[in-house]
Symmetry: C2
Subunit: 427 residues, 2 copies
Amino acid sequence: MPLSANNPDRTSWLHVDKNSDFPIQNIPFGVFLTRDDIITIGTRIGDTAIDLGALHQLGYFDGIALTDDIFLQDSLNDFIADGRKTWRSVRNRIAEIFDAENPILKGNKKHKEIVLFRLDEIEMKLPVDVGDYTDFYSSIEHATNVGSMFRDPENALLPNWLYIPVGYHGRSSSIIPSGIPVHRPQGQTLPGDAKEPVFGPSKLVDFELEMAFITTDANDLGEPIPIEEAEEYIFGLVLLNDWSARDIQKWEYVPLGPFLAKNFASSISPWIITLDALEPYRVDGPKPKKKQLPYLQSKGPKSFDINLEVAIQPQGSKETTVSKSNFKYMYWNMAQQLAHHTVNGCPVNSGDMMGSGTISGPTEDSYGSMLELTWKGEKPLKMADGSERKFINDNDTVIMRGYCKKDGTRIGFGEVSTKLLPVFGKK
Amino acid sequence: MPLSANNPDRTSWLHVDKNSDFPIQNIPFGVFLTRDDIITIGTRIGDTAIDLGALHQLGYFDGIALTDDIFLQDSLNDFIADGRKTWRSVRNRIAEIFDAENPILKGNKKHKEIVLFRLDEIEMKLPVDVGDYTDFYSSIEHATNVGSMFRDPENALLPNWLYIPVGYHGRSSSIIPSGIPVHRPQGQTLPGDAKEPVFGPSKLVDFELEMAFITTDANDLGEPIPIEEAEEYIFGLVLLNDWSARDIQKWEYVPLGPFLAKNFASSISPWIITLDALEPYRVDGPKPKKKQLPYLQSKGPKSFDINLEVAIQPQGSKETTVSKSNFKYMYWNMAQQLAHHTVNGCPVNSGDMMGSGTISGPTEDSYGSMLELTWKGEKPLKMADGSERKFINDNDTVIMRGYCKKDGTRIGFGEVSTKLLPVFGKK
C-alpha cells in the first residue's frame, strides 16, 4: 500500500504554522478526553485535535475494514493490533479528508463542530496500555561514558556490548504521559564511605533522553521474529524520559540490574508518530565495530534522523536547553532490538513499548543525561536564571522535544514535559 | 470480617479425597474454559470445578455487592480489584453453599448440572492478566549458593543483599499456566574460553522453584505502602517455575540484569490460593542478620509454612523428586517485598505478580534449581529410569507442587507442570 499520506506537496484546509511538528504529512495517533469528557482516539493537524471516533461514526472511514468502536477506546492497543495495512489505510484517508482540495468535511460546519477541538479543550492521555516495557542500552556513546565514569576508561564497554543489544525489563505501571508531575523518590543509598545504607530522598535525580517504539502483535510464545520482518511490527515512536535516581541505582543494581532507581516514573510524549511518517528520514546507522551474529545483521538504512533536545525549566524561570542529540546516533537499531528480544521466543504484543536507552551523541553537549552532561556533577550546568544544576532540583520541569526536517517538511513529536515535585507528602 | 471459610471442622457435600489439596477450607480462584467453551471464573473443591459465573447468575451470591459480570471474565483482575472485603464475603459464601449441612444447591439437580464440572471437562487458563511481573531474589541460601559458585565463597552475598529485598522486573507476556509446553530457547553464549560469542540452543536450561503473590490495586504513583498495610493488598499465591537459561544469562546479564535468559517462559499453577486460606500456616521467618531500615521492619509472623517439591519426568518414564523445600525459608517476606517495591512511589495494580526468587533451603536436597542441586553440573542427579541430569533435557517435564499441613487439614496448590520441547522448528 502506498504511503500517500506522506506526499510532501499536500497542504491542509486546517491552519498549520510553518514550524509546526504536525503538518498534514505527520498524522500521529493519540488518546484524549474531549470537552464533553468522552475518551477517544484522535489525531492532530497543526494545533487542531481531531476526534477519530466521531469521524468514524459520521462515515468518513467507510470502505476501510474497522469495527464500529475501534476509535472509541481508552487506548490504541486494538487499533494497533489491526496491523500495518489498516494503519496505512486510515492514515491515507485522514490525509485525504483534510487535504486543502477536499471540500467535504471542510464545507460541513456541523460535522466540524463535532470532530474538531482546540488543544486547550482536550486532555491528552497515555496513548497505549503498555503490556510490557523493555528498555535497551543501545547508544555506544552513553555506554562508553557510563563505563568510563564507573569502571575503566580504557575498557569502558563491557565484553558483551558490541555483540548484544543489551536490554532489561522496565515497569509498565509507572509510564505516564507528558504533563503528569513526578515526586522525588525515596530509597536506600550508601553515602560516600559509609558502611551501612541510609534511607531518604534521592539526591541525584536525573533524566534520560530516550525514544521508544510501540509494537503490534508480533509473535507467539516460542517463535522468533526474523530481523527482515521486524519493522513490520513497529507502529510508531514517542519521546521517552526514563527518570533515574543515580544514588539509589548505584546501591541496588548488582546483580539483577536497576529497579527502584527507575520504576518511579517513565514519561512519554502523548502522540505516537508512525514509522510510516518517519519513512523519509531514514539514514544509515553507525558501522558495526565487530561482526554481528547473523540474526542481528540488518540491511539498508534502519536508523532515523530525528533531532532531539532537552531543556530544564526552573520554577518561575525560563527554560535552558542542556542537550542536543539525535536518534541516528544509536548503535543498535530498532529492527535489531526486536529481533534480539524475540530470538528466544519471547512474545511481543500490541502496545508493548521498547525504549532505546539514553541517546548520547559524540560531543559533550549531546549527552542524554545530567550524569554525563555534568560528568557525575563535576561540571555543573548554568541555567538562564544564573542558578546551577548538577542533577534535577525539586520543582524543575524537564522538557524533551524531537523533530525531523528535510526538503522543507518537518515532522515532529511535540514534547514530553514533566515537573519534578518534592518527596511525597512534603512541600 | 471473620474467616469462617477457614473453619477446620467443616466438610462438604462434594467428595474430597483425604489427601486432596482442595478441601472446603481452601476455596481457590481460577479461570477456566467450560465444556461449553465459555470462559468463567471458578473455584474447586476436591476434584470438582465450580463455575462462579453460573452460581452468581443463579442468585447464590445475592446480598454481596458484586457486578453482574464480575465472574464472567477471562481474568480475575476486576474481582481482585474489588478488595479484601469482597473476596472474604465470596469465599465465606462458597463455604456455606458447599457445606455438608446445606441442602440448597446439594438438592437442586438442575443447578448442579449447570454449575459443577469434572476436571477433565475444563481447561485451566491464566488466572490473571499480569500487568507487571516482578521477581525478587529473597532466599539467602539461593543467593549464597550462587554467590559461592560464581564469585567468592567467603563473600558470597553482595553488600546490599542483607539490606534490600533485591528484585528486578520480569516479562509479563511469557507467563503461562501449567500444561503449556516451552521450547528450549536459542541465544548468544560465550563458550569456555572463546573470545567471541556463538548463537544456538541453550545448553543449560534450568527451572527455578518459586512462589508468587498476586496483588490488588494498592497505591497511586508517588505513594508508598507502609509495611503494616502491605498484606492487605495481597490476594493470594501461586507456584512459579521461572525458567532460566544459565549459559545465556551468564553472557548477557551485565550490567542490567537477566533478560532473554528468563523471558522465554515463566510457568504458574492455575489456582490462586488466597492469603486468607493460608492464614493458619503463618510462621516466623528467619531472624534478620543485620538491622533493617525502619520501612522494612515487619512485626509478627509474616512467613508461611508451605512444603514445596520439584520432580522431573523424562518422556515415557516415571517422575523423580529432585528437591524438597519450603516457602518459610525466605529471608525477606512478602510484606517487606511490597513495602520495598513501593517505597519510591511505584504503583502496584490488581493482577500484578511478584515472584519470591528461587526458594532454596539449608540442605543440599532442598535447593530450588538444577544449578544448585547439581552444583553447576558437577554432581548430576540420578533419575528413576537410570539416566542422569545436569540440567533439563528436551522432552523432560518439570513438575512443582506445594501444600500446607497442620492439625489434619491440608491446603495445597496443585501443581505447575511444564514440558520442555526442543528448539522451535526442530523435532
